[in-house]
């Protein structure tokens, strides 16, 4: 299985480390500049391709870790050439694009594997299975929080470009929309607010969203790009009618660093969560995707899940803009 990776940012790098743990062969990388892709290509003994099209032509599987707004065009091209696809979250910048991508992949008979990596984090996966087993009864109120600092790319920071990334309500909080939906089922209504709606020049951003699930459960999602680097913390709580599950990354960190620093910030451009486990959740995810591609095994996240998460994120953006809740179109009807 020949894999090509698009994008050499933090996700391209992380996915490459995952593929290296599978029998698949990373044949090449492409990125905005050959300087970025060069280092990765060297590490994995792969080639640098000058363009997406050149890479695509030579692979069985294309792994798309480019900025969100580019996913749509790249996935459609890949589907046309009958290539299987791994795509970073958010699947697309708009629900209409995501819908088109899902349909195109269905028609082409190719897999579209969306990297909702939170489902592969052991604490989130365990909480999900505990709920599914009925350990806490019927979920009633779910609270998910994900907080860090603003992504700080040196140049061309697409994360902060509303048109490209969708900002905090899409890029960051989509993890938890997807998780809430995984735990409590389809979402019917979304209401959201964010700091940068009223204060576009604020030095921090913060989003809040309330989701109504068809099951009657309510989810509260909070996302922060407001903390001092290198903070990255997440928490979850699922309260059911027969019990309660809580997780807090700070409260369960097995190592606390109280090391004297010699100055300078060593925080990465984009914060990633970390609690030492024997296998990185990013690697677990790529291995599961490999199993789906090589052996037709099922994965815990479908292309439709990727679409549904974008639909919620888009509704959150609209709600933050209008101040009113937004009702979602049932996906079956929409397609």
């Amino acid at each position: 299985m020949k894999v090509g990776i698009v994008g050499a940012g933090s996700m391209g790098t992380t996915h490459a480390a995952g593929w290296a743990e599978t029998p698949a062969e990373i044949i090449g990388f492409t990125a905005e500049t050959t300087q970025e892709s060069g280092a990765l290509a060297e590490r994995y003994n792969a080639k640098v391709y000058p363009s997406f099209d050149a890479l695509l032509a030579n692979v069985d599987v294309i792994d798309i870790c480019s900025p969100t707004h580019l996913h749509h065009e790249m996935v459609l091209k890949a589907a046309k050439l009958a290539k299987h696809i791994v795509c970073e979250k958010p699947l697309a910048r708009t629900a209409a694009q995501a819908q088109e991508m899902v349909i195109a992949c269905e028609k082409a008979g190719v897999q579209l594997l969306v990297a909702h990596v939170v489902r592969f984090f052991p604490e989130y996966a365990l909480a999900h299975s505990a709920v599914l087993e009925g350990q806490i009864g019927k979920p009633a109120v779910i609270r998910l929080h994900r907080g860090s600092y603003r992504p700080k790319k040196p140049a061309g920071n697409w994360f902060l470009d509303e048109e490209k990334s969708g900002g905090i309500l899409m890029d960051l909080m989509i993890h938890d929309y997807d998780y809430a939906r995984w735990v409590a089922g389809e979402v019917e209504t979304v209401s959201a607010r964010r700091v940068t709606e009223l204060h576009p020049d604020a030095p921090v951003d913060y989003g809040l969203a309330i989701l109504d699930h068809r099951s009657g459960a309510l989810s509260h999602i909070a996302g922060a790009w407001a903390y001092p680097p290198p903070t990255f913390r997440t928490s979850l709580e699922v309260a059911g009618d027969r019990g309660l599950i809580q997780f807090d990354s700070d409260g369960t960190a097995p190592i606390q660093n109280l090391i004297l620093k010699t100055g300078g910030s060593d925080a990465p451009d984009v914060a990633l969560p970390s609690s030492p486990v024997s296998e990185s959740p990013y690697t677990t995810q790529i291995k599961e995707f490999y199993g789906a591609l090589a052996e037709g095994k099922t994965t815990r996240v479908s292309a439709t899940d990727g679409l549904a998460a974008v639909q919620i994120a888009e509704a959150a953006l609209e709600s933050a803009h209008t101040g009113q809740p937004v009702k979602l179109q049932p996906l079956a009807e929409a397609s």
């Binding site: 009633a140 109120v141 209401s191 921090v204 309330i210 922060a224 407001a226 009618d241 101040g323 809740p325």
Partner: protein, 333 residues
């Protein structure tokens, strides 16, 4: 000597106020009364407090002030009785379950020239006072939003009426909206402008008629926005009754405040569950002290009846939003 009476023990805080008053200089607990005589006499006997047989009897004994601890919907007649006799009032929260009652309570105290204080103990919480001081000092820059929770167990273990739609005026929304709304009004100096709320009844679905789960999203007139989780989502074996916490996001980052975090973890063989023993400062004591001081100094208390009214307005708007499914404008009288 400032003389204080307690009207009703429908609210379990009434018992705490007895010991608060007893531990204050220059204050006399004149006595207590209750429309549930058995409950009132039992609590009076346990605390060696004088028991008056009727509200009238207690009011005729001329206290300087009374603390009203009836069910939420029964505050108004007692406020009117006390105000007409020129007796100052500290009223449990929420001060009423309808806008008409809340407004009437504020108006009658105004007209009678008596002090009306709403029992919002969080205004006297030491951690919250610290945040307020830092806000006023400009440590945080602009405030952008709050992510708050005020959650508890099903409160029936304190009193059954807390889940009675008429006596309590609702469920989790009525119980747990007012504190955070008041805190945010206090911190920001702004009024709630819009309210969106969703509720459900999944916790204790077969035990109660009222909502037990609730999430609210509001904006203030100055653009600050907030959410409140008002749910009765703590299990009955939670280490304490519940809690109140919030994240406040500002120009300079965020602060996470847990008003009831000052606890010991206690594990006892005979309980077979962990228990949080609170060692933080007693906000109720500071609140009752302020009531007494306001009476003594003949000045407005730091929390007024209007503060209680504003919190009721926001709470009732949450119920309206649950009914309509829309974000609603909050009307202020």
């Amino acid at each position: 000597m400032i003389k204080i009476g307690i009207l009703s023990f429908a609210h379990h805080h009434g018992e705490a106020y007895i010991s608060n008053l007893r531990n204050m200089e220059g204050v006399e607990l004149l006595g207590v009364t209750d429309d549930d005589p058995l409950r009132g006499q039992t609590i009076a006997a346990q605390n060696q407090a004088h028991y008056f047989h009727t509200y009238e009897d207690l009011l005729e004994a001329k206290p300087d002030g009374v603390i009203i601890c009836t069910e939420n919907n029964r505050h108004r007649p007692l406020v009117e009785m006390a105000a007409s006799r020129g007796i100052h009032i500290l009223c449990e929260k929420p001060i009423a379950t309808t806008l008409a009652d809340a407004q009437a309570i504020v108006d009658v105290c105004d007209k009678s020239g008596v002090l009306l204080m709403t029992a919002f103990p969080m205004r006297f919480s030491a951690p919250l006072l610290e945040i307020k001081a830092r806000l006023d000092h400009g440590d945080f820059g602009d405030v952008y939003c709050f992510n708050g929770t005020n959650r508890g167990e099903l409160p029936t273990k304190h009193r059954a009426w807390f889940v009675d739609p008429l006596l309590a005026g609702g469920g989790a929304i009525m119980d747990h909206t007012v504190h955070l709304v008041d805190i945010m009004r206090w911190f920001t100096g702004s009024e709630v402008a819009t309210m969106y709320a969703r509720s459900n009844k999944i916790f204790h679905a077969d035990e109660v008629e009222v909502e037990t789960g609730a999430l609210e999203m509001m904006t203030f007139q100055n653009g600050i926005f907030a959410t409140i989780d008002a749910s009765w989502s703590r299990p009955q074996y939670w280490p304490t009754w519940g809690g109140l916490d919030f994240e406040m996001v500002t120009q300079r980052g965020a602060v996470v405040v847990d008003a009831f975090r000052q606890n010991l973890n206690v594990y006892r063989h005979d309980w077979q569950r962990s228990n949080w023993a609170y060692w933080g400062s007693d906000s109720n004591h500071a609140m009752v002290s302020e009531f007494v001081a306001a009476i003594r100094e003949n000045r407005s208390p730091r929390v007024t009846g209007v503060d209680g009214l504003r919190a009721v307005e926001a709470t009732l708007a949450a119920y309206e939003s649950v009914r309509t499914g829309q974000t609603v404008q909050v009307q202020h009288t």
